[in-house]
């Protein structure tokens, strides 16, 4: 899976979960400050990411931006 494909799929999850427009999600989007995701929202996103990418993530507290999330997915896909 290319970086762009990972980003697109991640964006799809975020757009759906938070009712956003496509152009509201970029790699620099901060989940807490820009999208106002609370900790329960983040678990929801992680759970969907696990299912859609068929990977396992730690319930990590160090995911701040979309880039962080994409990096984590890449790491797990490679593992």
């Amino acid at each position: 899976m290319t970086d762009a494909e990972i980003f697109d799929k991640t964006k799809e999850i975020l757009v759906d979960q938070f009712d956003l427009e496509d152009d509201e999600v970029s790699l620099t989007t901060d989940l807490t400050n820009d999208i106002d995701a609370d900790s329960l929202d983040l678990f929801e996103v992680l759970n969907r990411v696990e299912d859609d990418f068929d990977i396992k993530l730690a319930v990590a507290e160090d995911i701040k931006t979309v880039q962080d999330l994409v990096d984590k997915i890449k790491e797990q896909l490679a593992a």
Partner: protein
């Protein structure tokens, strides 16, 4: 349809009642946990940010009082978590419960040691993630609870978690008598967990001021601190709780609110409530069900009375008699 009032995990542990004493930092001592297990429930020792040797001391206090299995609740964010798990494995504790955080990095070694792992979950998605990682059961805890809390109520959370996972779901938050336990089973739970109710047990070692405050509390007497900044925790109202909330509001009005400064206000306050009974400065963590609790009685009686009422309401046989 008849209600199923047990689950494979409770059966394996040989529990008489499908009732768990939720781990409570400082308040859930080895003595209280042993009393709950000895009486036929599952007692869980609370350990917070303790060192391994402090955890071992409480485990030994519990073992001196009961041969029945009991659990330890661990704080995964603790700096001492490695040594705490080493002690738990060495001492062959039966159950590990976890509050905030993700126990999955430790799951393999805990399972290899034969330890049952049940994390507290505040939402459906976290319950699903935990099930995928292989935990044995989840505790779905509503925000009625005492202590640190999530956002959903027990009534709304439990059936949704039950529908989402195939492992046993234990309901927690706002349960204080047989009606609450019966309700938990009606929502599809496979067990009930209580914290606040056990704080006023005869065997509970919390300061008399703490017990008195729960016995006196009415329905409206808890408040949530850390709602705006920091970590949400339900406590009985007192000077400390009210000024905490005011400080949050003040901090939020600043140009750069400092969440850490607010979190620091909590530091040491639970211990002050539990051990010193510090009426003005302690955080008397307790749930909304405090208003229902009017007596101090032995754990065995609490469990016996609750289960008699619950089985009667559910129309199932009380086989403990």
């Amino acid at each position: 349809m008849t209600v199923k009032t047990t689950n494979p995990i409770f059966e394996k542990l040989g529990m008489k009642y499908p009732i768990v004493e939720g781990g409570m930092t400082w308040a859930g001592t080895g003595v209280l946990a042993a009393a709950v297990s000895e009486a036929g429930g599952l007692g869980i020792i609370g350990t917070g940010y303790w060192h391994g040797e402090d955890v071992r001391r409480e485990i030994k206090r519990a073992k001196a009082l009961t041969d029945k299995p009991f659990g330890v609740n661990v704080m995964l964010l603790s700096r001492h978590i490695r040594e705490v798990f080493d002690v738990i494995i060495e001492e062959k504790v039966a159950v590990v419960a976890t509050g905030a955080g993700d126990p999955s990095p430790f799951l393999d070694e805990l399972h290899a040691a034969g330890i049952i792992v049940m994390p507290v979950v505040p939402s459906v998605s976290l319950a699903k993630m935990m099930e995928k990682k292989g935990v044995d059961a989840v505790v779905a805890e509503g925000m009625e609870s005492g202590g640190h809390i999530g956002m959903l109520t027990t009534m709304a959370l439990v059936p949704q978690v039950v529908d989402a996972v195939d492992i046993p779901v234990i309901a927690a938050g706002g349960i204080g008598d047989g009606r609450g336990v019966a309700a938990a089973f009606m929502l599809g739970a496979a067990g009930a967990q209580m914290g606040t109710r056990f704080l006023t047990a005869a065997e509970s070692e919390v300061h008399p001021n703490f017990k008195a405050k729960i016995l006196k509390a009415k329905d409206i007497d808890t408040i949530v601190t850390g709602n705006l900044l920091g970590n949400r925790a339900r406590v009985l109202k007192n000077k400390m709780a009210k000024s905490f909330v005011k400080n949050e509001v003040n901090e939020l009005q600043k140009e750069k609110p400092d969440a850490e400064a607010i979190e620091k206000l909590e530091s040491g306050t639970l211990k002050r409530a539990v051990q010193e009974g510090d009426k003005d400065g302690g955080a008397f963590m307790a749930g909304q069900i405090s208003g229902l609790i009017h007596d101090e009685k032995p754990v065995a009686e609490i469990l016996e009375d609750i289960w008699a009422q619950a089985t009667d309401l559910m129309g199932v046989e009380n086989t403990t008699k």
